[in-house]
């Protein structure tokens, strides 16, 4: 009896071990499937952008699978993504990354939404040496930690509004300008601020107001009163959608006249829709716009992507969706060049990426950030009561001329 029990235990553990080793070595590529994992914010405060990200991923997976999938070693594989809801919570995101890697045996990851959550996941993917292509973490600090398995298709946060300062100096006849700025105290906005500081130093411009906004921000009347009193040449605001909406509301109510207003998150905040004419002339940084002339064979042009996305999901794609779709194009390209499922080979192939997608050129710098794609600036312009975002910089893609200076409120209807 005793012997039988021992035998039984040995038998069971042998089977368990065998199963375990099978599941971990085959999970990444099952029956012609390449399984990617992603923790994504489907509930909680990032849920709307989380869904934009997921839609972007899904659209690209469908497209790539329909167009023949990924060819590795002469065989065609299809993409599949395992999603978990991270509840917009960094701790949860890190746990889920562990779970994806250890339990589900995922060997390749797609990024979550937001810099904060990407920051929470990156140490985990780095620890297990899992290549992660992310499309929604722009914070500069992600690219200075020496991560080897992190690749971002988007431009880093410090580049968001640098161009705006150059533009202000140019409009000022090449002379330095006076800058007033207000940034939320979070990783992303503070990185945007660093970019402005660099630009100010480079152009010899002076920062006369440098306010920090709290996370619970809903009133920046004090900052704006100071702006009114000191009359800067350019006002820069970055505080996610809250910041953009609060700034426009109070600038229009307090009749603050500044020649130039530069912001982030205008499209995420649906600024031109929520504030209409009050938001006219605001200059906004964006990763992507459908009118850019980039191309690839999966989505065609930006305009075509815009159309296909609308057809599938019923709304116009924000740049968060476009960059997420681009992340999958990058993975496909890397798998095919590596011609292998060896993680380190895929990682090396990712590192050597140099390609054009409908979203922009992609080439990774030493920290993993995309160095091949410039940020673009658009300006809100209105015709009657309908307001739209028009690309004004860089000049190569500008559909409209940059309107400067902003007319004073007394002349605006």
């Amino acid at each position: 009896m005793n012997k039988l029990a021992k035998l039984f235990i040995t038998f069971v553990s042998a089977i368990t071990l065998a199963l375990a080793s099978i599941s971990s070595s085959f999970a990444k590529v099952e029956d012609g499937m390449i399984v990617l994992g992603s923790a994504i914010s489907l509930t909680g405060k990032y849920s709307s952008n989380g869904v934009h990200t997921q839609n972007g991923y899904n659209l690209a997976v469908d497209r790539i699978n329909k167009m023949g999938g990924v060819k590795v070693g002469g065989k065609s594989y299809k993409f599949e993504i395992i999603y978990y809801d991270d509840e917009s919570n960094p701790k949860r995101a890190a746990q889920l990354a562990e779970r994806l890697i250890k339990q589900d045996g995922v060997h390749y990851m797609l990024g979550p939404y937001s810099s904060g959550l990407t920051k929470a996941i990156a140490p985990v993917t780095e620890k297990y040496k899992i290549p992660m292509v992310e499309a929604n973490g722009a914070s500069r600090s992600l690219f200075t930690k020496g991560y080897k398995y992190l690749f971002a298709v988007l431009s880093p946060a410090n580049q968001y509004l640098e161009v705006a300062i150059d533009l202000a100096v140019e409009k000022n006849g090449g002379k330095p300008v006076k800058i007033a700025q207000a940034f939320e105290q979070d990783a992303f906005s503070q990185d945007v601020r660093l970019g402005i500081l660099d630009a100010a130093k480079r152009t010899g411009s002076k920062i006369i107001i440098d306010d920090k906004l709290p996370k619970e921000l809903n009133d920046m009347a004090a900052t704006l009163a100071k702006v009114k009193a000191t009359k800067p040449d350019v006002l820069v605001v970055s505080g996610h959608t809250k910041g953009a909406l609060t700034a426009i509301r109070q600038i229009s109510e307090m009749k603050v006249d500044v020649p130039m207003l530069a912001m982030t998150h205008c499209d995420a905040a649906k600024l031109s829709k929520q504030h209409g004419k009050k938001s006219e002339y605001a200059l906004c940084a964006s990763q992507w716009h459908k009118n850019l002339s980039y191309k690839d064979k999966f989505f065609g042009t930006g305009k075509k992507y815009d159309k296909d996305f609308k057809k599938e999901f019923g709304y116009a794609p924000p740049y968060q969706s476009a960059e997420s779709s681009a992340a999958l194009l990058v993975f496909k390209d890397a798998f095919e060049r590596a011609n292998s499922f060896d993680r380190d080979k895929v990682r090396d192939a990712l590192k050597a990426t140099e390609m054009q997608t409908f979203y922009g050129n992609i080439k990774f710098g030493p920290g993993g950030q995309n160095t091949a794609k410039p940020m673009i600036l658009f300006q809100v312009r209105c015709k009657g009561d309908v307001c739209e975002n028009k690309v004004v910089a860089p000049t190569k893609w500008a559909s409209d001329k940059f309107f400067h200076p902003i007319p004073p409120w007394s002349e605006r209807g």
């Binding site: 405060k45 906004l213 709290p214 009347a221 004090a222 000191t230 809250k242 909406l245 109510e253 905040a269």
Partner: protein, 297 residues
Amino acid sequence: MDFLIFQAPMLMVQASLDGILLGILFALIAYGMALQWGVMNIINIAQGDLVILGGYIAYTMYLAGIHPAWGVIVSPILMYFVGWGLYKLVINKVVDRDLFISILATFGIAIVFQQLMNFIFGADVVVAQSEYGTTMLFDNSVTLPNSKIFSAFVSLAYAVALVVYMKKSRLGRAIRATAQNARAAKILGVDTEKVYAATFGINAALCGIAGALISITLTLHPYVGLPYTVRSFMIVIVAGLGNLPAVAISGMGLGLFEEFADYILGTEFRIGAVFMLLVFILVYRRFKLSKKREYLK
């Protein structure tokens, strides 16, 4: 530290007026909190979330093409029933337990409300447009959004109406009686259960008004309720329970304090300064109380 405000007198005027107008709105929320705290001995952590829910009611009207200012009438009516339902569902089970339990319960309600609002209205920050324009004073150097002036007037009107109602009406008298001594009121025939439900409903209605006003003056988001809870808690601590003029004055004082903290310490310390002040006042109160006790010995 920034002392620009002391160099420009107009900034001082601007800050003071902004602070007072905002403070009146805070006072309205705080009055609701004081009322139910006094009557039911419940500290409602979900106060701010009720405010935001009231705001979303006005915002929904705005989306439907109705002017959001009508929210100050519709929102309190709907919110009264929300408050009443909340009482029947949860609060009546904790009303005679100790304070800690009710804090936990309302904290739970706050989380449920946040998630529900996130689920129904989405996680985006939204604003409703009143198109009320701006009043300019002193040659355009001080600007007051008319929406803020409107909100201060509406808050005052409702506060006065409520005071009169509490003094004259049957229910008002019953509420005051229950606040003084619930057991005695019960013996004398007051249906305290009904009074509690009504009080919680009135508090929610006040939050509804404030929320509608916030939708046209500030911004709405499912997770910005807490600062409103803290502010009203703070005002009530300073003013004491059941003293409306004190609540109004302490509300305005808090509004002023916030604006000046914003100018002098910087916007990042705006809400932080409120928390700091709360700590100071609590410590000061304790200090005063302990002195009194010594006196009695």
